[in-house]
């Protein structure tokens, strides 16, 4: 009997045992659906969403700063050794690299914000309103008023506004040490109130224009950071190396990986946890599929004996069950990809806002999203088919080896 005839018979067999076939396909598809959903969810939420949010909020793809700037020493953010000038010229040089999409300057330092009655420690971030709007995340979270514009003003978080009972147009005091270490005060009207749901931003940070920050820190037109975004976060090391020769003496460029050690460490430990989780999921999936197929074949020992009595060879029976298993595996995998694909599609297109967890994970914007890859589809199909093959072939092999009379006697 040729292979094609055996294949046709296997299809007919599946039709003949339609209910069993459907149950087998459902069993395979549930396991594959969960696997497919989870792979996309893990990549989307834990790798893309978290990283992108963190990079956009805190580190960008790479930063330029002086060699003596130490991110951990907040009290020394604005000193003669940590600020630099003529950033516009540098930015125009940087933007000549086609891989650099945007760059913005900041002058951030420690200080106080208050309403004239009370004050508290905050990080005062001076930024270029035009470029910051494109690059930063605050503009997306303005609840009242507008982002910083040409007029002098201050953007404060919702929690700061509530704490000091500040409303739009009210005067907010900001105080900081100048670059010469003298105390300085500015009084700025509140032009916008934002709410990200992230405590560090909503309470501990205020935004002013670069001009105001320079007036506060008495730094003329200095900055202490240039934030840059590239075409892809993965090329940050390569582009940083390309930009290094453009920098003036005393300046350095650091890709985001150098700032995001904590995030990468977390990702690493999460990866171990989720790898174990995926392995367990795989094991459950494979064993469920294998078990189902095993029972499926074992119930048909008598049928196998009959085929053998009719003159079917052992390898022909083996091939018959191989085709059946492959067809169930393939159908189950495709159906599973469809089942898993529905929530995956929803998360990939819309996502679920989960900002209330922002404080817990120290990332301001957190969305549950999915980012499936072609490799996920291939992996799911392979897992589905290999599992069904394993489940089908072992009992088929065993049954085909049985003595015909014994097989026929089986109930």
């Amino acid at each position: 009997m040729n292979i094609f005839s055996i294949f046709i018979i296997s299809i007919k067999n599946m039709k003949r045992h339609l209910r069993r076939t459907i149950l087998n396909i459902i069993s395979v598809s549930i396991s594959i659906g969960i696997l497919f959903f989870f792979l996309g969810y893990y990549r989307g939420t834990y790798i893309v969403s978290m990283r992108e949010s963190f990079l956009k909020y805190k580190t960008s793809h790479a930063q330029i700063q002086t060699e003596l700037f130490n991110d951990k020493k907040i009290q020394d953010y604005v000193t003669k050794n940590t600020v630099f000038y003529e950033s516009d010229k540098l930015i125009s040089k940087i933007l000549k690299n086609p891989k650099v999409i945007s760059a913005t300057t900041r002058l951030a330092g420690n200080g106080f914000a208050g309403n004239g009655q009370e004050k508290m420690i905050v990080q005062i971030t001076g930024c270029n309103p035009e470029t910051e709007k494109e690059v930063g995340i605050i503009d997306d979270f303005i609840k009242e008023g507008v982002f910083l514009d040409k007029q002098d003003g201050i953007l404060i978080g919702k929690k700061t506004a509530e704490l000091f009972n500040l409303k739009l147009g009210d005067i907010c005091f900001i105080q900081a040490q100048t670059i010469n270490n003298s105390p300085n005060i500015l009084q700025l009207p509140v032009t916008g109130i934002y709410a990200t749901g992230f405590y560090e931003l909503d309470k501990n940070t205020v935004f002013v224009s670069l001009k105001s920050a320079n007036a506060l820190f008495d730094t003329q037109n200095a900055v202490n950071k240039i934030f840059m975004f590239f075409k892809d976060m993965e090329i940050s090391m390569k582009v940083s190396a390309e930009l290094r020769p453009v920098l003036d003496n005393g300046l350095t460029i650091k890709p985001w990986q150098e700032y995001a050690q904590g995030l990468l460490e977390n990702e690493k430990s999460d990866k171990i946890f989720y790898s174990i989780f995926i392995l367990i999921l795989l094991f459950i999936g494979v064993s469920t599929i294998t078990g189902t197929m095993y029972v499926n074949v074992y119930e048909r020992v008598r049928e196998i004996g009959m085929l053998r009595a009719m003159g079917w060879l052992q390898n022909e029976i083996f091939l018959l069950f191989l085709f059946e298993s492959l067809c169930i595996g393939l159908a189950g995998s495709i159906f599973g990809l469809f089942i898993g694909g529905i929530p995956t599609f929803y998360l990939a297109v819309y996502g679920i806002d989960y900002s209330q967890a922002a404080d817990m994970i120290a990332i301001p914007v957190f969305k549950l999203i999915s980012k499936p890859a072609i490799s996920d589809v291939l992996l799911c199909i392979v897992v589905g088919m290999v599992s069904t093959m394993l489940g089908g072939l072992l009992p088929a092999h065993k049954a085909s080896k049985m003595i015909i009379t014994d097989s026929l006697r089986t109930n």
Binding site: F173, Q177, N180, N181, S182, P183, N184, L186
Partner: protein
């Protein structure tokens, strides 16, 4: 007529030559405020919304151009903490910590409205150029502009009592021209033969309703050994 003009000119010349200058007033105020060397005990009270938040007692040993050493005597948890200022350098020693910690002169003094330098450095004459902006029967009002960027305040408006050349009030301005603190001086008392204010109240513009009060309990003029002004000596 010529005689009258000559007399007027002569009087004007006399006024110009012999009137006290702003710089002389500043120097006199500095001299009256403290001795060249000596020791004083003070109490510092931090008040927020009418309630006393913190009360510190300290002993201060000072010598012009050498340094100022402050040792806390109360409360118990602050006792024996020391702050040393030598020119622009400042250290703090906390018992139990092996080495003194470096401080910035412009940082808040123990969380109060004073900066460290406000309390440790009384000599304004060297750092500010003064001019009289107003003169009444009872007081001079001086505008003092910083001559260098190493000082805490770029401008100080000082009201000085004319008779005794003692500071009555100071308004401290930042480099952006905004008022940041006011200081009121009162309770004139005699210390070691010198009259000086015994109470200084500082108010922070950013925390209205809060103030820090310094009460000078006593001050003596005595010889001070230079050797005590050393960070290494703070530990001993």
């Amino acid at each position: 007529m010529k005689k009258t003009i000559a007399l007027v000119l002569l009087f004007a010349l006399y006024r110009t030559c012999f009137a006290i200058t702003a710089q002389e007033i500043t120097k006199a105020v500095d001299d009256n405020l403290t001795f060249n060397e000596g020791e004083m005990n003070m109490t510092l009270i931090d008040i927020k919304k009418g309630k006393t938040i913190k009360e510190l007692d300290a002993n201060i040993i000072f010598k012009k151009d050498k340094g100022t050493l402050m040792t806390f005597t109360a409360p118990a948890r602050e006792k024996n903490k020391k702050i040393l200022m030598m020119k622009d350098n400042m250290w703090m020693y906390v018992p139990g910590i092996s080495r003194p910690i470096r401080l910035s002169g412009k940082d808040s003094f123990m969380g109060t409205s004073f900066s460290n330098r406000d309390l440790m450095d009384f000599d304004m004459n060297n750092d500010y150029k003064s001019r009289i902006v107003k003169e009444t029967d009872k007081e001079y009002v001086l505008e003092m502009l910083a001559t260098n960027k190493n000082v805490s305040y770029s401008k100080i408006i000082t009201a000085v009592e004319k008779e005794r050349l003692l500071t009555i009030k100071q308004e401290l301005y930042t480099v952006s021209g905004n008022l940041i603190k006011t200081m009121d001086f009162s309770g004139i008392k005699e210390y070691g033969g010198k009259l000086r204010p015994s109470v200084i109240v500082v108010k922070d513009v950013l925390t209205q309703g809060s103030e820090t009060k310094v009460i000078i309990n006593d001050m003596t003029n005595k010889e001070i050994n230079d050797n005590i002004f050393s960070p290494q000596k703070m530990v001993k």
